[in-house]
Amino acid sequence: MANGEFKKGLEGLDQGPGPSEAQAPEAPPQAGDLPPHPTVDALREHFGAGVLRHEVVAGDEHIVYIPPERNLEVLGWLKDACRYDFLQDLTAIDYGGGRAIQVVYQLWSIPTKLNLRVKCELPLEALEIDSTYFLWRAADWMEREVYDMFGVVFRGHPDLRRILMPYNYAEGHPLRKDFPLRGRFSRAEQTRRALSMKTEDHYSPQELEIAHVLGQPLPDVIVEGGPGVPNQGTMPGIGIGAG
């Protein structure tokens, strides 16, 4: 993009967009040059080297980078001591090109009316971070989404499974930069997999487990009936809607 070549809207359909060409900011502005943010000052005082960087973007948005292994400690302190009680957003950014994936926490404090963005950088070979589920329940689905879309594992999340993609989706994590727009499998393979789904594939293992605990028989018969044969009689109650 930097060399000015034209790119059409759907270029890279099958290759993926390739790495982004942004340079990392060369010299981040020093804290003294930036407009003050009371929480960032308090964070520096309390954690010292735990605050890796402090940036200001778009005029008034403060970003604090913290080490991923201390995220629970810092975020818990922010929630309790600085009263950031509202988790506005939790997401991730993949810049591509083998660079670290950033996990982004966007915080808002209803009592003090302050915003703060906290980022943790996770190298691609260690995509694991502690879950903030027990700080903010709002993190529940957002962490599941980040896991689904980026493959970041949140340690301690009680129910970490795919949320937007089917639970048995085998093509990887769609929002990663190396994921092509049409998926990793060919159209033929995708069709073949869709057609060979069994009835039980429409239910998550969790539901099948509950059905088992409740004594409702698992759809074993399907194996005999061949692939794709809807069998609605074996699981009373949840047998509808399949197929």
Binding site: E21, V57, Q88, D89, Y95, W136, A138, I240
Partner: protein, 429 residues
């Protein structure tokens, strides 16, 4: 296998006369015959499935419920049936081409999504839109707040058995569709904003059309309120149902009327005012019980407040251009592009290369009809975003559904789900 004796009391069934007409039968309980059923049937939990194709789930939401009799023991929501990977698609489109993706997320309030997206990109690029554009966008957003609340009102009432309200609200929505159509040319997928302004200025007579609609709308809203607010069935089905406390609501990240019904006074328009919302005279209704009835009352009052804001916006609508004067983002006029070589090249380059944003990022949120709508845009200096993320209010609100309905009755599941005002296009993205 243990057997339990159960005695069924059966009433006498109506009899038919020889001509086929119904003979009045007195309802007299008679002692039925005793039957024996298996002991383990009594008290057994049952797994049932609601959706994804069910009108009361307001889209393709699927709920798996574990029931003990009629009481919900566990609820597992499943989403993703409408997943269109808008965020991934956005990485292949330039900044202006993303606008049509935004209104397909929340097709119940498309203009709010158009505006929120454009505002986030403009904030990242450091663009200040013109005064006229600000007021026009405020009008768009308040109009669509009413538009979305009307759909909520109609469908929630119909879920609880009040059909008439649906007809009233959809009649009004048709009139707003007409306003959309004359403003943008489309009734649902409006795609009305551009980076740095709007697709077009207000058409002649639009403001008059809007005022005329507002004059007719308020009496209808009052009439709808007489149908519901003191209606015994409505009150019985909504008061004390789906209650969430203020602490839980904040912890679950609820926003919009769902949060304010629990008594938390958080409205982005008041707490982080954008587009001079601090200069408009309006109040934010706050509930206290956190149940469906309070959510209903909050939304009814919000519609009235939106009308107040709309009237003030019409009052202060300034003249002048709607788009900023910045050749980086705004196209030359069609006349210039057709007559003048420089303008034509300029037009070609803006369209083909797209608008370029500097390196940076911005997380910006507005108060949409359903809650806090956040748009997170990250740029690497190119014509396309590195990441475009939508903090959808419905996505976060629906995540609190199991918390609200576990322990409630099956019939309340539909009511609570309706009261959250979800739109699956935005949940699934």
């Amino acid at each position: 296998m243990a057997l339990r004796r159960v005695v069924y009391n059966v009433t006498r069934s109506p009899e038919l006369a020889s001509g086929g007409s119904l003979v009045h039968a007195p309802i007299v309980p008679v002692q039925g015959e005793a039957r024996e059923v298996h002991e383990d049937v009594a008290g057994e939990h049952m797994l049932i499935n609601i959706g994804p194709q069910h009108p009361a789930t307001h889209g393709v939401l699927r709920l798996v419920l574990e029931l003990d009799g009629e009481t919900v023991v566990r609820c597992i929501p499943h989403i993703g049936y409408l997943h269109s990977s808008f965020e991934k698609l956005g990485e292949y489109r330039d900044w202006n081409q993303i606008v049509p993706l935004t209104d397909r997320m929340d097709y119940l309030a498309p203009l709010i999504y158009n505006c929120a997206y454009a505002m986030a990109v403009e904030k990242m690029m450091g663009i200040q839109v013109t005064e006229r554009c600000k007021v026009v966008r405020v009008m768009c957003m308040e109009l669509d707040r009413i538009f979305s609340h009307l759909l909520w009102l109609g469908t929630t009432a119909i879920d609880l058995g009040a059909f008439t309200v649906f007809l009233y609200t959809f009649q009004q929505r048709e009139l707003i569709y007409d306003l959309h159509e004359s403003l943008t040319g489309a009734r649902i997928t409006t795609s009305s904003t551009r980076i740095g302004g709007m697709m077009a200025d207000l058409p002649a007579g639009w403001v008059e059309q809007l005022s005329k609609w507002m004059d007719g709308f308020l009496p209808v809203l009052d009439e709808v309120e007489t149908l519901l607010t003191n209606n015994a069935i409505w009150v019985g089905r909504t008061q004390g149902v789906g209650v969430i406390s203020a602490e839980d609501a904040v912890n679950f990240g609820l926003s919009g009327p769902n949060l304010r019904a629990s008594g938390v006074d958080y409205d982005v328009r008041k707490d982080r005012p954008y587009y001079d919302y601090d200069q408009y005279d309006f109040v934010v209704p706050v509930g206290e019980h956190g149940d469906i009835y309070d959510r209903y009352m909050c939304r009814m009052e919000e519609m009235r407040q939106s009308i107040r804001i709309l009237r003030q916006a019409i009052e202060r609508l300034p003249g002048g251009p709607i788009n900023i004067d910045d050749p980086r983002v705004i196209l030359p006029t069609k006349t210039a592009a057709m007559n003048d070589m420089e303008s034509m090249i300029h037009h070609f380059k803006v369209v083909m290369e797209g608008v370029r944003a500097p390196v940076g990022e911005s997380w910006f949120s507005v108060e949409s009809s359903k809650g806090e709508l956040g748009m997170y845009v990250v740029s690497d200096g190119g014509a396309k975003p590195v990441r475009w993320r939508v903090r959808g209010p419905s996505f976060i609100n629906i995540a609190a559904l199991p918390h609200m309905i576990e322990g409630a009755l099956l019939s309340d599941v539909i009511a609570v789900n309706a009261s959250l005002d979800i739109v699956l296009g935005e949940i699934d993205r």
